[in-house]
Amino acid sequence: MTDAATDRRLIVGPFNRVEGDLEVHLDVAGGAVRAARVNSPLFRGFERILEGRDPRDALVIVPRICGICSVSQSVAAARALEGLAGAAPPPNGLLAQEIMRAVENIGDHLTHFHVFFMPDFARAAYAGRPWFGQAEAGFKAAAGSAVREAVAARSNLFHVFGIMGGKWPHTLTIQPGGVSRAVDARDKVRLGAIVADFKRFLEGRLYGAPLETVAALAMPGELEAWRDHGPAGHFRLFLEIAADLGLDRLGRAYDRFLSYGTGLAPAGGIWQAGAAGALDPALIAEDHSHARMAGRERRHHPFDGSTVPDGADEDGYTWCKAPRLAGLPFETGAVARQLVGGQPLIRALAAGEGGTVRTRVVARLVELAAAVLDLGQAIRRLDVRDAWFTDIRLPDSGRAMGLTEAARGALGHWLRVEGGRIAAYQIIAPTTWNFSPRDSDGVPGPLEAALVGAPVADGERTPVAVQHIVRSFDPCMVCTVH
């Protein structure tokens, strides 16, 4: 039932503690969101910037799409260029690329939890809650002890880039064919020490338990036990907050997920109707009907896509296109990877509460624990006597795609080369999937769907429940419209 006195429209922005620019339009009725439209208000046009250049220049340009997932962008470009050449890096080269990608993803998960997501629970509006004192001391924006510790731990972890990548963000070490810097025995032990130190930080502060224990969580009941008498740490605090605020009932979208998989675990796939399935990239197409983009008459497969901004467009409300798989919106991110990869706890949560704010955060924290363990093993597998790079020659024409995972989900590059120059370059970033606008059938994107039903209190101009839902996706807006 709607209460006419509270019916209103809200425009929420600037939306901070997300990467980049975001504005959300809400129709509010009866104290809840009835409809949402998500606007990415910044357009730079990287796909156009790439046109006409030597394909190898993509390695300089594409990381600069995004300062938070630049390595994932580099890896996608390297994969596409390797695909063009029909070549692959030697095992060490691939492993080194994937180690850097994993370190960036791990750093992103940490930044998301401590710097972007949790500070919302340290707001004065929650002052009466039993957990508030702990939340405020740890997670007050830019001031909380946990926020500061996480920023410092991330800086230490990113010394991996100082050794392997020269710098972060925007390394050029990742090349089609491998990496431009060999790791020697000394580097290898130093990398191991950095990861061991980071593991100690996570176990001591975030989880209060060994990473192996977190990665092995399998039953939803284990989360309740952790919340009630688990080890003290940020994970337990989150579980208490989630239970108190009902975050397991907030922000559910379509429960359809997709992951491209990574160079280390090639299995990408989808999760739909409660079951895993295969992903066919040929079924991906972008819809421009509610984007401020020319080309609305049909959906475009990325090999056949275009990026022609139309600022005069009246139907468009964002610069973000609407990617669809087999005509349907899909969500991507840690939940998708964990579902496709068969993590039992996340599969159980998806079967129960679905993809909610709590599921997204738990999936990220479980993945973080597992990813750091995998990282340690990957470093041990580096063979310092072996090759790091294969010199490959690019053909003058052809097309190829490069698929990988950023922290926030599936990232794809589709490249077409003619006469030794880039003829077309289309990119679909994870947040393009998650924050897509409506399509020509009027079907909202995943976030737009997830926001429906979010509670809005009287007088709230920037509803806090909306903020929890938006941030639970870990959006990267600069990537979204690039």
Binding site: D21, F43, T111, M164, P169
Partner: protein
């Protein structure tokens, strides 16, 4: 205390992400120690939405003072000068209009990164968004604020150029401003702080011995000098990357790839492939800063002839295959 407002426009957010890698002390401790109070930063602050719009309005209406305005990302003039490629969320108003108004109120204006300084990578190619910098459009002075712009305290826009910026270039600039220790003479020709722009990336490069002998890398992962074939501009690029180091112990050349001179205006359009050196009659077109061409050619051919076997062989591999000779004492 000095307060600071940070806005992001047509960039990637990478300068903020890089700044968060500040160490010893970390970013938040550094700002505390310098007496810098964050009025608002899009990555770090609690306030969102309407609270932020209220704050910006208070600054424009002079109800709130502003000491330092930092802008990250290029300023987008398009389409057709409307600025509509970047509307500030929640305000229905182009970011360039907000930046003009806020810059007029600030005591200092800092362009963080090459995008905000000169236009940067966002201005590359066909420059689809009509991107420029705060006070430069490429090498051309002007940009969004115009060549005559001076902030309240009298300085032009301070261009902490770099793609991304080193965390300490930013924090040290802020600390110098907070301490009243930055004057017009502390900025170089392109208004970059001289404390880092008076150095060359070449200084401290571990490949200097290969440079001396023109023992060159031919492919990624080779240890040799990257100037002759791989597009490296370290001998011309203004920055202290190889003496200050990144993420603990890194730099571009230490990571095995060319310096692309990312602190310079128009680095995004070198006129050739980034990682390949353009040559005329076998000689690189771009020569080291301050070096007469004839001397370079003469010294190069002499150096190549004198290259030790160790340096020549190591230059073409990804690890040291010939170690330096250990001289026993009696043979010295």
């Amino acid at each position: 205390m000095m307060n600071l407002l940070w806005l992001q426009s047509g960039g990637c957010g990478g300068c903020t992400m890089s700044m968060m890698c500040a160490e010893a002390p970390d970013l938040l401790a550094t700002l505390d120690g310098a007496g810098i109070d964050l009025l608002w930063h899009p990555t770090l602050s609690e306030a969102t939405g309407a609270e932020v719009v209220d704050l910006l309005q208070a600054i424009v209406e002079r109800r709130q003072g502003l000491d330092i305005l930092c802008v990250e990302g290029s300023l987008l003039l398009g389409p057709n000068g409307s600025g509509r490629f970047h509307m500030m969320a929640g305000t229905g108003r182009p970011m360039i209009d907000w930046v003009r108004d806020l810059a007029a109120r600030a005591r200092h204006v800092v362009a963080v990164g090459t995008c905000a300084a000169f236009g940067g990578i966002t201005a590359a190619g066909v420059n689809p968004a009509d991107a420029c910098g705060l006070q430069y459009d490429g090498r051309q002075k002007g940009g969004l604020l115009g060549p005559g712009f001076r902030a309240g305290a009298g300085l032009p826009v301070i261009n902490v150029a770099g793609c991304p910026t080193h965390p300490n270039w930013v924090t040290e600039t802020l600390m110098l401003l907070a301490g009243g220790d930055m004057a017009a003479g502390d900025l170089d020709l392109y208004q970059r702080p001289r404390f880092y722009a008076d150095h060359l990336v070449h200084h401290g490069c571990p490949r200097n011995e290969y440079y001396e002998y023109k023992a060159s890398a031919h492919k990624p992962s080779d240890l040799g000098c990257m100037m002759e074939h791989m597009g490296c501009l370290g001998t011309q690029a203004h920055a202290d990357c190889n003496t200050r180091l990144w993420n603990g112990e890194g730099s571009c050349t230490r990571g095995g790839y060319a310096c692309i001179n990312c602190t310079a205006p128009e680095f995004e359009e070198p006129g050739h492939m980034f990682l390949e050196t353009p040559k005329l009659a076998g000689i690189p077109i771009g020569l080291p800063t301050d070096m007469p061409k004839a001397w370079f050619v003469a010294l190069s051919s002499l150096a190549k002839a004198a290259t030790p076997d160790r340096v020549r062989r190591n230059a073409a591999t990804d690890r040291i295959v010939v170690p330096p000779t250990v001289h026993e004492k009696r043979k010295r």
